[in-house]
């Protein structure tokens, strides 16, 4: 009869040692700092240093060409003073706000409506409509911009279909049209995320509410909306950030015009840096965008932290 293998004895701290260890306090293994160093180095090199340099650039007189292109100097608060009295900047900030709010509200509402309709739709319809919406989302901004430009100018698809071929929607209501284009291009993402969240809502809860004679509005307000809130928060944050950084779509469609009607901050920053050659002032406007993005980030962290 073969003998059974002898198990190795696992040696560890004795019971008395374990009793001495406090478990209600955070414990650090200082040796793990070495393992964190590469990530920290990347954070410093790829984020903190460029950000710090961008902040510094915003406080200089650096230009793309001209006498201060090579020999720029720190000019203190001069660019900030200029920013305060720059009426184009304030109108650009206002246009940015409208564009972001419009895009976010549109994306969330249309995304939710499509997702809930598709839940009830026949499979073939779900596949076709879902596919089309997702294609719009995956389309490069250049293609989306050209599509919307061609559809909304005089002689385009919209005006021709409506029987008013000479109407130029893009020039008549430029901010509205680029916001609609932005909603159109991001709705696919919202629809997919909302659809996944809707499928995770327990059907028992809905059924119980229905048995209790809850109206559809009550079911939406008391059950669906609270359960969807975390998903909606993520969609709001992400689409808000995407809208804030949406340079290509508007550049293709209007280049910020007519006048300054669609000149949102990314375009104004580009215009200052590369059309007017004011690299430093363009960088400062970019820094304003970083501040706005940070506000979004803090908002998101606070909301998610509250959930935890």
């Amino acid at each position: 009869m073969a003998s059974l293998p002898v198990m190795d004895t696992v040696t560890g701290p004795s019971m008395s040692e374990l009793w001495k260890t406090r478990h209600d306090k955070s414990r650090y293994q200082w040796s793990s700092l070495g393992l964190l160093t590469p990530a920290f180095a990347l954070l410093v090199l790829l984020f903190l240093v460029p950000m710090g340099f961008a902040v510094y650039l915003g406080l200089t007189n650096l230009t793309l060409v001209g006498p201060t292109a090579i020999h720029s100097a720190f000019t203190g608060m001069a660019n900030l003073e200029r920013l305060k009295s720059d009426t184009t900047f304030w109108s650009s900030l206002w246009a940015t706000g409208i564009f972001i709010v419009g895009s976010v509200v549109g994306v969330v509402v249309v995304g939710y409506v499509l997702a809930s309709l598709l839940m009830r739709a026949r499979p073939w319809m779900r596949m076709i409509v879902g596919g089309v919406v997702v294609v719009a989302w995956m389309m490069p901004a250049v293609t989306a911009g050209m599509t919307w430009y061609a559809s909304t100018t005089g002689g385009g698809a919209f005006s021709t279909l409506l029987g008013i071929p000479n109407t130029n929607f893009l020039d008549n209501d430029p901010l509205l049209v680029v916001t609609l284009a932005s909603i159109w291009s991001m709705t696919g993402f919202s629809m997919l995320v909302m659809g996944a969240a809707l499928r995770n809502i327990p059907s028992e809860a809905i059924e119980a509410a229905t048995v209790e004679n809850a109206s559809s509005w009550q079911r939406f307000r008391m059950i669906i909306l609270p359960l969807l809130r975390p998903t909606m928060t993520a969609v709001v944050l992400l689409t808000g950030l995407l809208a804030l950084a949406n340079f290509s779509l508007i550049y293709i469609m209007t280049q910020g015009g007519p006048g300054n009607a669609t000149n949102i901050l990314p375009l104004y920053s580009y215009q200052q840096a590369f059309t007017y050659n004011n690299l430093a002032y363009g960088a400062l406007i970019g820094n304003v965008m970083v501040v706005i993005a940070t506000v979004f980030g803090v908002f998101y962290v606070r909301i998610t932290a509250r959930r935890l």
Binding site: V65, T153, G154, D171, T254, G256, G257, P258, G259, N277
Partner: protein, 464 residues
């Protein structure tokens, strides 16, 4: 004998050795110099998609000049740097390349409005020593010679110029009861002709004149700035460098735009604001018979040739007429003048600078210069070329007519503040086109506010 050899032989050997060494040194030196000469490499940067009417025509021209040059100067290697993209992309790339001596192109071709910017940055070498004995430069009209003149030195030389005049469709003019050949004497004559066209042919566009910002700074150069050039006070930038934001000339110009658009004589904003090459749209409209008159650049005529085909229109030479753009109240013609110029980088060594200037010599040979003019839609800067059949026959009669109009043209300013100022006047013209109820005075106030806001009150001025 032995004695003789004893004393002489070592000397002969030593002498021979010295001679041999000297010869070898000289020979080696010669080889080294030849080797150094063969190592001269220059880079030539140009806009691949914007200067010539089509990208293939540009490639053909640059390759032909490079080939001819390298045959003439076998010790020099030319690296052509074709910068892709629109004009703003090209300018950004060039400015960034100039930042470092290792990437600065030895020779570059850029718009004349950039010369002062590059010179003030220290990017350009003075060409004056090279141009002293240049036969082709001596043939440039003074206005073109001075295009690159800063502080008594020349930093860039023209390779071609754009000027502006009036194009009109002869058949439409006749239908409107306008006698041919048509030559308006004042701006009111242009408005009157456009009104007659509108009355006779309500469905067509009576008068095309550029408006808005979509075509970039060049759009204004092909449109509204030509009217300003013919106004009572055409100054854009004063001698002290201040940008003019309010003047009788600006008001006259914006009032003209107000009249055009408030009377429904202008092009629709879908065309004017098109980011798709708006200054070239009139050539397609004329071909379709949907446009009466256009304030248009010299290159529109070339668009109808088979080589450019934008679109090809064999009957253009007989169907279309050209007239000078009159000044506001008569007294001659007016036009802006803007060219594409060659400049040599300040980072170039003396051997590279000489090689780069020799490249310019080849590019400025009559055949090369005229072909560039034909294919890029330029009037050649050498006055005698304006009557050479290679030029006049390419887009007859337009090329010759615009050559005749060139002496009435004036250069656009070249400074950092110009790009802001031109944005202001383009926004003003765009507002007038989009909202025809806007008055000229209101548009001028908007422009004044924008430019003053961007440049600061100390950088702008008002002319009475």
């Amino acid at each position: 004998m032995k004695a003789i050899w004893k004393g002489v032989l070592p000397r002969v050997i030593a002498g021979t050795a010295i001679i041999a060494m000297s010869t070898a040194t000289l020979a080696t030196g010669g080889v080294t110099q030849a080797g150094a000469a063969s190592k001269v490499t220059i880079s030539v940067a140009y806009a691949a998609n914007t200067t010539f009417d089509t990208t293939p025509l540009g490639l053909t021209w640059w390759t032909a000049v490079k080939t001819e040059y390298e045959q003439k100067y076998p010790n020099v290697t030319v690296n052509l740097v074709a910068v892709q993209g629109g004009e703003p992309d090209f300018l950004t790339k060039l400015a960034l390349d100039y930042h470092s001596t290792s990437t600065a192109p030895t020779l570059a071709q850029f718009p004349s409005t950039e010369i002062a910017l590059y010179q003030s940055t220290g990017y350009l070498k003075s060409l004056s020593p090279f141009l002293k004995n240049s036969s082709w430069f001596a043939q440039f009209p003074k206005v073109i010679q001075n295009e690159g003149l800063i502080g008594g030195k020349i930093y860039a030389v023209s390779s071609g110029e754009n000027n502006v005049g009036l194009y009109y469709d002869k058949a439409i003019m006749l239908k409107a009861g306008i006698k041919l050949p048509w030559q308006p004497k004042t701006w009111n004559d242009i408005i009157a002709a456009a009104e007659k066209i509108k009355a006779a042919e309500p469905k067509i566009i009576p008068l095309w004149t550029d408006a808005g910002t979509s075509a970039g700074p060049n759009g204004a150069g092909y449109g509204i700035l030509n009217l300003l050039a013919g106004s009572s006070t055409p100054t854009i930038q004063t001698s002290s460098g201040k940008m003019v934001v309010d003047s009788p000339g600006l008001l006259q110009t914006l009032n003209f735009y107000h009249e055009v658009f408030s009377k429904g004589l202008g092009a629709p904003t879908s065309q004017l604001f098109s980011p798709n090459n708006a200054p070239n749209i009139p050539s397609a409209d004329f071909f379709k018979g949907t446009l009466g008159i256009a304030v248009g650049a010299n290159f529109l005529g070339g668009n109808w040739t088979k080589q450019v085909s934008f679109p090809y229109w064999s009957k253009a030479s007989t169907a279309m007429g050209v007239a000078g753009l009159p000044k506001v109240n008569g007294g001659g013609y007016a036009s802006t003048l803007s060219g594409w110029d060659f400049g040599i980088s300040s980072a170039a060594s003396s051997a590279q600078a000489t090689a780069a200037f020799n490249f310019m010599n080849v590019a400025q040979e009559q055949k090369n210069l005229i072909e560039a003019g034909n294919w890029a839609g330029w009037v050649p800067p050498v006055q005698s070329d304006w009557t050479v059949p290679l030029y006049t026959n390419f887009a007859a009669p337009f090329n010759e007519e615009f050559g005749k109009l060139l002496p009435s043209s004036s250069e656009l300013p070249t400074s950092a503040n110009y790009s802001v100022w031109v944005q202001g006047i383009e926004e003003a013209s765009g507002t007038l086109a989009q909202t025809p109820s806007t008055t000229g005075a209101q548009a001028l106030a908007t422009m004044k506010g924008f430019v003053t806001n961007q440049l600061g009150a100390s950088a702008v001025t008002t002319l009475k």
